[in-house]
Symmetry: C2
Subunit: 344 residues, 2 copies
DNA sequence: CTGAAAGCGCTTACAG
DNA sequence: CTGAAAGCGCTTACAG
């Protein structure tokens, strides 16, 4: 009659319970569960073990297993903002891949890191994850140093790190070229670009793609027009106004990011610029919302889910000191909607 | 020269290392770290311990601590979809509250649950979390039964469970009344509603709020017009068309959810119905995107972050068998933008 | 083919 | 005021 006595049928089943029911040693149960191939065991003994596991609904205690093996079975994923649908896709891909490997994803925002004294990094540093995925740009250099010092495997996602030794990115250059080529094919010659912040690695590569496509088209540098802003609607709003007020009068705009495009479309509407009649707009990232914007937005679809999945796979497959440099290229395609048309 | 010898300065610091450096027993280190108030200790001994912890950058191993105490310091959060910005807000609030309590949030989607044979529930059932928050509606009854059977504390968020014993919700009824009152104050009398799916608890309460506000206004039942759909843009698109094609000719529509409103605005644009000139629209949930829709959407702001935070607090504060029935009411306010105006 | 034993890194009642 | 010991639930090299 101890006060904390467990209810009969309670789920606090341990490997000992399973072993007793099967009439074997706990070590045998462990080896059966973990598919130890060095284990020679009679078929009916194995069956008794399996039956006992099932009958008791036994699941190994994660803490005990982790303590013994130093493997957690969890991966940390840092993003700047849960509200950004680009990251939603990456998370979904990461979760799917982790789940297939029997792993769990622990997602956290940089925002939280700044907010509490005992930071997320401390929580993770206590051995709660096997490694971390760093998606997005606001991680401080000191924090990267701490991952190194703590021997914590990490991988930059959709962004290259300072020394460029551990990252997986998308083919941003090609995405920009696909978008600009679409505008060129429609007959546009004067094509402006709204790009991301100068610090963002993706912004730089999309800019290179824009320049390469324009160069191939034979347009001179004088027809180039670029504005840049943070990857936010308000940034896109301001950048669009900058372009609209220039003397260049482009007939099309390539927008390097979905959030920027949301702001750009709003700015166009405010100024009475009709899209696509007065100006064509194409943006990078095909999110569900694209179809519901005004007008429905032509986009380049990027493999965001695949990026998230690949990131998990790479992190799990490589040692802590290995170089990881990978680019996810497929699938990428143009999704034509109503924001692009031939120039008038 | 063992092959796995740790690098000098490596972070695999244990409580033993700290104890040796401070010249005390490991148990003393433990008690200092955990602020054991039954501990009488000389000030300078304590200082030696604290100094050693800092010097070695010691962080207790989470697995060992969990194994010993049966406390994980992690909470699971299930949502239907990362792309839904309503859940982004809830997640942000939950993370902030958990972080303050030194806890971690493990976020997962129902989608993943269905996809792999070793489900998320199994992963969590192995003792990876202290409890789970169930936000959104697609959890199967059998899964709820498993939480009960596994003695896993759970809490429904933004939705009441079958027996209504463990939940925290928003004041959906009042949100609907605030929205409808705004329309009434503008002079509208024929006000339609686009509601959520019949299975959704929030949908039912917003509908009650709509009916209550209309009744107070003195309008008879004949002026009521309702359509309902899943909480998605495509649902809102279809429901809007249904209302537009009815003979009732309302001058305003109350839309019960942000995603529905996105589709409703698109449908209006397709039909050439001008908002707010021909029809006013107000929706529940004030998300960043509202300002960038066409036209900028008038909304009722709901305390989503507060809901996420409260959910974490309630789950941590209550026992597994306690009743938890709570409503987060503040802050709630009308955010007027461009989609509502007086009827013409 | 299967079992006994050690140990992962903590915490906590108990001893002194 | 501080230390010694047991034990949480596993896994794995070793023994037989």
């Amino acid at each position: 009659m101890t006060p904390r006595q467990k209810t009969i049928g309670s789920k606090r089943v341990t490997i000992i319970d399973v072993a007793q029911r099967a009439g074997v040693d706990p070590s045998v149960v462990s080896r059966v569960i973990n598919n130890d191939d060095r284990l020679r065991i009679k078929a009916d003994t194995r069956e008794r073990v399996v039956a006992a596991v099932r009958a008791l609904d036994y699941r190994p205690n994660a803490a005990a297993r982790t303590l013994r093996t130093s493997k957690v079975g969890a991966i940390g994923l840092f993003i700047p903002d849960f509200a950004n649908p680009v990251y939603s896709e990456i998370i979904a891909g990461a979760e799917a891949a982790a789940s297939l490997a029997g792993c769990v994803v622990v997602t956290g925002t940089d925002e939280v890191v700044g907010r509490s004294e005992q930071t997320y990094l401390d929580l993770l540093g206590s051995g709660r994850v096997d490694g971390v995925l760093l998606a997005g740009g606001s991680l401080k250099k000191s924090e990267q140093a701490r991952f190194e010092a703590a021997a914590m495997p990490y991988l930059f996602v959709n962004r290259r790190d300072r020394d460029g030794s551990r990252y997986v990115v998308l083919d941003d250059n090609r995405a920009a070229q696909v978008a600009v080529r679409h505008l060129l094919d429609l007959g546009h010659r004067s094509i402006a670009m709204i790009g991301g912040p100068s610090g963002a690695d993706t912004a730089r590569r999309r800019r290179q793609g824009y320049l390469a496509a324009m160069k191939k088209s034979g347009e001179g540098a004088e027809s180039l027009l670029m504005a840049s802003a943070d990857y936010t609607p308000s940034g896109g709003f301001a950048a669009f106004n900058e372009i609209a007020e220039s003397s260049a009068r482009p007939t099309a705009v390539f927008v390097a990011n979905f959030a920027l495009a949301i702001g750009a479309l709003k700015a166009a509407e405010r100024r009475g610029i009709r899209i696509p009649e007065d100006l064509s707009v194409v943006a990078v990232h095909d999110l569900a919302l694209a179809e519901y914007l005004y007008p429905a937005l032509t986009t380049v679809q990027m493999p965001l889910r695949e990026l998230g999945a690949r990131a998990v796979e790479l992190l799990m497959a490589h040692g802590r000191t290995d170089q990881i440099q990978d680019t996810v290229r497929e699938p990428m395609r143009l999704v034509e909607r109503e924001s692009t048309a031939a120039p008038r």
